[in-house]
């Protein structure tokens, strides 16, 4: 599993959104989170304000907020869907978003309403290229 390191890690089984979010797609379900770059830019996450289960989220729109000591950041939905689960463990341990952004630091799980949107997301090589620019 990828963990935070000084150079940043980007698993190749994920799809990426240019606003520094990732999606792990499994059938009509997806797990969403923020990338190593996003958590590193934000700094230590101290609060995750999740949407409620059942909320409809819209690709490219904000669905939640993560906050560090000094900053607030909107979390952008990489795909459209309905929230089926939120990572409740982050209420007590929001730092998981920094320590393990692709594992224990996942944010929400959604049932996809437009699975075809996945084709518009970036692969790992494209996402890395975006970060290099």
């Amino acid at each position: 599993m990828a963990t935070g390191s000084s150079e940043g890690t980007y698993p190749d089984d994920l799809r990426y959104h240019e606003e520094h979010d990732w999606a792990r797609i499994e059938g009509d379900r997806a797990t969403l989170g923020i990338t190593w770059y996003a958590q590193d830019s934000l700094g230590e996450v101290v609060f995750f304000d999740p949407p409620e289960v059942g909320t409809a989220i819209q690709k490219d729109s904000s669905y939640a907020e993560v906050e560090s000591v000094k900053a607030v950041s909107d979390v952008i939905a990489p795909l459209s869907g309905e929230i089926v689960e939120v990572n409740d463990a982050l209420q007590d341990s929001p730092e998981k978003v920094n320590e393990d952004p692709y594992g224990e630091g996942w944010l929400v799980k959604v049932r996809l309403t437009s699975p075809e949107e996945a084709e518009t997301l970036l692969g790992v090589e494209e996402y890395r290229k975006l970060l290099d620019n």
Partner: protein, 360 residues
């Protein structure tokens, strides 16, 4: 302001080498954090941290009329400062608004030093220069003569004294040690709520001294931790809690205003003290979840009763907290309000100052 125009302190390369996150602040490129705000915050609460505050300005006031002049422009009773003493004051305009808040140090009989906020340094200089004309006092911008290092925390003094081989002045005093074989000033002041000192160094020796202190285990801290530390102990920040539109009374700084000295703005301050003010600066804590931020409305029912001036996650309290101006009738400790954090109402309670108090 473009990045090209940003000024750098003598320690800029050290910050960059340590991997600091550098941000523009008051026209300077300053470190906001090195390893994380929380870690740096707790290093200062528990051990010792150092902040490069070389962006702050220094103004020297000298002459037989120096005391009379400072008594006229500063809100506190400057005559009370003995040689080697330090005192906090507001610099007020004619309307009693706060141009800046600052420490004045008496370096010698007729010689004082005031330390200004970086963002206000030029305006302060202009104001002081103008007001000094009727006095036998010279106002000198000496900001370029000093690098400034705040070393703060329960172990700051012992580590500093051992490392630099000097004796430090007590709290609210200033001494003239040699540091790095150059004349320096050591001030028993700070902005963290912890014991510690602020060192004014010859810029030429700033790098070796920084490295020596780093070697001695003092943790480099950025402006991020400086802000969370000062907020927990409710020290006001000019530009947030203080401004030319607010007088010291509503900001809770009546204690450093001595109207009988006749300082500029004292009539307005006296009236505000006697009659009360429409709003007061309070500290508050969020009850439950949510982190307040500057500008968030303070609500009671459907009515906006104030606004947040500074808000943060408070690392030592482990909750969202801040300061706000609220209607004076709601300023009492214990009053329940709500903070509108980007559309979400977060229950909050007016709390006593300071929010964080040392448990010994």
């Amino acid at each position: 302001m473009s990045d090209a125009a940003l000024r750098r302190t003598p320690l800029y390369e050290q910050h960059a080498d340590l991997g600091a996150k550098l941000v523009p602040f008051a026209g300077w490129e300053m470190p906001v954090t090195y390893e994380g705000i929380r870690e740096e915050h707790s290093a200062v609460r528990r051990h010792a941290g150092m902040f490069d505050v070389s962006h702050m300005g220094q103004v020297e006031v000298e002459g037989s009329g120096a005391l009379a002049f400072l008594q006229r422009v500063l809100s506190n009773d400057v005559a009370k400062i003995a040689v080697g003493g330090a005192q906090y004051s507001c610099l007020c305009n004619e309307e009693g608004g706060v141009i800046d808040d600052l420490f004045a140090y008496r370096l010698g009989g007729d010689r004082y030093l005031v330390v200004t906020n970086a963002a206000n340094h030029d305006a302060d200089l202009e104001w002081l220069g103008r007001q000094s004309r009727e006095f036998d006092a010279i106002v000198r911008d000496v900001a370029d003569r000093y690098a400034m290092l705040a070393v703060q925390g329960p172990h700051a003094r012992t580590v500093l004294e051992a490392t630099l081989g000097i004796e430090l002045p007590p709290r609210f005093h200033v001494s003239h040690p040699q540091i790095g074989r150059r004349p320096a000033l050591a001030c028993g002041t700070g902005y963290t709520g912890e014991d510690g000192v602020e060192l004014l160094l010859d810029p030429e020796v700033a790098v070796p001294i920084w490295c020596e202190l780093l070697e001695a285990g003092i943790v480099p801290c950025g402006l991020g931790a400086r802000d969370t530390l000062r907020l927990e102990v409710c020290y006001p920040l000019h530009g947030n809690e203080l401004s030319a539109e607010r007088n010291p009374i509503e900001a809770g700084l009546g204690w450093c205003c001595k109207e009988e000295t006749g300082f500029i703005g004292s009539e307005v301050v006296a009236r505000a003290r006697a009659e009360g003010t429409a709003e007061k600066l309070v500290a508050f804590e969020i009850e439950g979840q949510g982190i307040p931020r500057e500008g968030n409305p303070v609500m009671q029912g459907d009515e906006q009763v104030g606004a947040v001036t500074s808000g943060t996650y408070a690392p030592s309290l482990e909750l969202g907290a801040g300061m706000a101006y609220v209607r004076s009738d709601l300023a009492e400790v214990g009053t329940e309000v709500e903070i509108d954090v980007r559309g979400k109402r977060r229950p909050a309670r007016i709390a006593s100052k300071p929010l964080y108090a040392k448990r010994s």
